[in-house]
Amino acid sequence: MSSGIEAQVLQPYKYGFVTDIEADVVPPGLSEDVIRLISAKKGEPQWMLEWRLKAYRNWLKMPEPHWSNVTYGPIDYQAISYYAAPKQRPKLDSLDQVDPKLIETFEKLGIPIEERKRLAGVAVDAVFDSVSVATTFRETLARQGIIFCAISEAIREHPDLVRKYLGSVVPHNDNFFAALNSAVFTDGSFAYIPKGVRCPLELSTYFRINASSTGQFERTLIVAEAGSSVSYLEGCSAPVRDENQLHAAVVELVALDDATIKYSTIQNWYPGDEEGRGGIFNFVTKRGACRGKNSKISWTQVETGSAITWKYPGCILQGDNSIGEFYSVAVTNQRQQADTGTKMIHMGKNTRSTIVSKGISAGRGQNTYRGLVKILKGAEHARNYSQCDSMLIGDRCGAHTFPYIDVRNSTAIMEHEASTSKIGEDQIFYAKQRGLSAEDAVSMIVNGFCKEVFKELPMEFAVEAQRLLGISLEGSVG
């Protein structure tokens, strides 16, 4: 096309800086000794170590999965360092001892953790490599009985709660990457919302990879007791590096009777360069259990980063009348590959699920939607609505859709809609004829395409998501 849709004048990744900080890094390699070392560094009880070792022994027997629609070279699990932490360790309830370089790093990322600069209405847990460096608004939350802290701290301080729920949604041997995570997870967040409490703040965790040759294996667990509700958001970024870094996270959500969990992700790991060098391998297992009746779990994700994304946030709809939702925008530009979607497992009666997936491919990006809707025998009158839309920018990218449907109850109602569109020269020309620049035109068209998902994001982050989408598509259209 004569306007040169796709001129690859790419803007550099804006979060690619490295923080120069003295780190305590465990030498590369994975063994039972390394796991013992991590567990010891975290001051964990014996049961936790045993759980890790059990996961590790299972992992050794599991093959790396290769069924997804992505390609990458072999990962050398012995070349990765499984623990890296800034040397100067703060006390988690006081910022006085946090290295100013860390405070500065998070500030640069737009996540101020200092008291006077904090985002109003948002409590933040800031995770740097393998450790949580600060959690804000802890006291405010504690007054309502809400626990929001690093998971390593929760293991020490609230062992009964963690032990009851950890691995109850994603078992330690669930899949290859979940097993690896269970063996070596370092930090992540824990949130517990007591009975009947509506969490007054947005809870948020920001994950930053900094050290090279390390993997980040965070684990997040959120439990919403009966009648409670919480909205949680995670963000992430990493420095620009030629090597691929592994990020294998596990997130588990538990919603009891009448509880609601809204989980939003803005994923902006380093995507690699235009030739596909470097970038994060993002292999993530996220699952929520709607255990109680009338419970609801809603996943919203905006995936713009990572060289490879492999994640399927799902809902197990056990409780009668429970609701699962999945709203996703996944962008692949340059040579990024994404294979993402959801799993909705209907077990209870009158369970409902909604899936809205928007895949945008530009450059040489490959974008795959993969989703499973399973309606079990006892799930009377279950309903699912799925909508998968793909948008192509340029002619060297790809969009793929793999919906799996497994219905074992004849009262189920399923709806599935899918569309693929090419961002039209005519649409861009129309906007240009009204005075808009090509970039503004594309950004507007893409934002319009994603609107159904963006409106699900907490307000504070919807603007950020739109801006991020603009950045990750910059240069994709001439």
Partner: protein
């Protein structure tokens, strides 16, 4: 150059997909004038409109087009728009998820930015918009609908005229805006265009039919055939075409 010419086209040739559609257009439009370009299907009317707006699928192979003395063909489509060239599309495009109000404001602000004027916020923009809406007989429910999505053919055309009224260009090109309109809609559209006439702007109406010209008084009527203007005259020429059809023009056209 001709005095007061807003648009001056000389010997313009253009191709689409390698096929020559415009074969030497000469046309001068002065400020304050309304021109009608008529002609049978395939004569090149819409191509001329698209070329003037800068659609990338059309390639100019020879000739020139000057707008306010500047080389129009050297400008990008968005520069032309910001400088006051407006095309009312024959087939307006839908933009999902973007409201009409948002789109209009983005367009207005792009033009204001180009002129070094302040950007308008949503509230002040809405105030200015109310008035324009009334002119085309719409209520504000149209503003919150996605651009042209689910619009009927007539609504899309009216929406183009709303944009015209909001953007107030110096040179408006209406590409078959009248086709697909019922009589009432046609009247509203024509009256709006008539109201927007000023001594410092000009309108080029590309049309098949005489009827829109009963509401808008054209200063000059041109007949386009096989990529050339073969006849120009006053309003009476349009009437003659209405009565006789285009065949007599085709026969009269010089052979290339």
């Amino acid at each position: 150059m001709t005095r007061n010419a807003l648009l001056e086209i000389r010997d313009l040739h253009a191709t689409v997909e390698g096929q020559e559609i415009l074969r030497g257009i000469d046309l001068t439009v002065r400020a304050g004038e309304v021109h009608a370009i008529m002609g049978p299907n395939g004569s090149g009317k819409s191509t001329l409109a698209q070329v003037l707006a800068g659609h990338p699928a059309y390639v100019v192979t020879a000739g020139s087009a000057r707008y306010e003395g500047k080389d129009l063909l050297a400008m990008t489509p968005e520069e032309r728009a910001r400088e006051g060239v407006f095309l009312a599309f024959q087939y307006p495009v839908a933009i999902r998820g973007i409201t009409n109000a948002y789109f209009l404001r983005a367009a207005v602000n792009a033009i204001r930015k180009h002129r070094g004027e302040e950007q308008l916020g949503p509230v002040e923009f809405m105030d200015a918009l109310e008035e324009k809406l009334k002119v085309i007989g719409w209520d504000d429910s149209y503003l919150s609908r996605p651009v042209n999505e689910g619009f009927s053919g007539g609504e899309k055309k009216r929406n183009e005229i709303l944009q015209l009224a909001v953007l107030e260009p110096k040179l408006a090109i209406l590409d078959e805006t009248d086709s697909g309109l019922d009589i009432d809609a046609l009247k509203t559209v024509a009256q709006t265009v008539q109201k927007l006439r000023r001594p410092d702007n000009a309108t080029v109406i590309v049309t098949h039919y005489y009827r829109i010209l009963t509401h808008i008084q054209p200063d000059v009527v041109h007949v386009l055939s096989a990529g050339r203007i073969v006849k120009s005259g006053g309003k009476e020429l349009a009437l003659e075409l209405e009565e006789k059809g285009y065949d007599w023009i085709r026969e009269a056209a010089p052979v290339a």
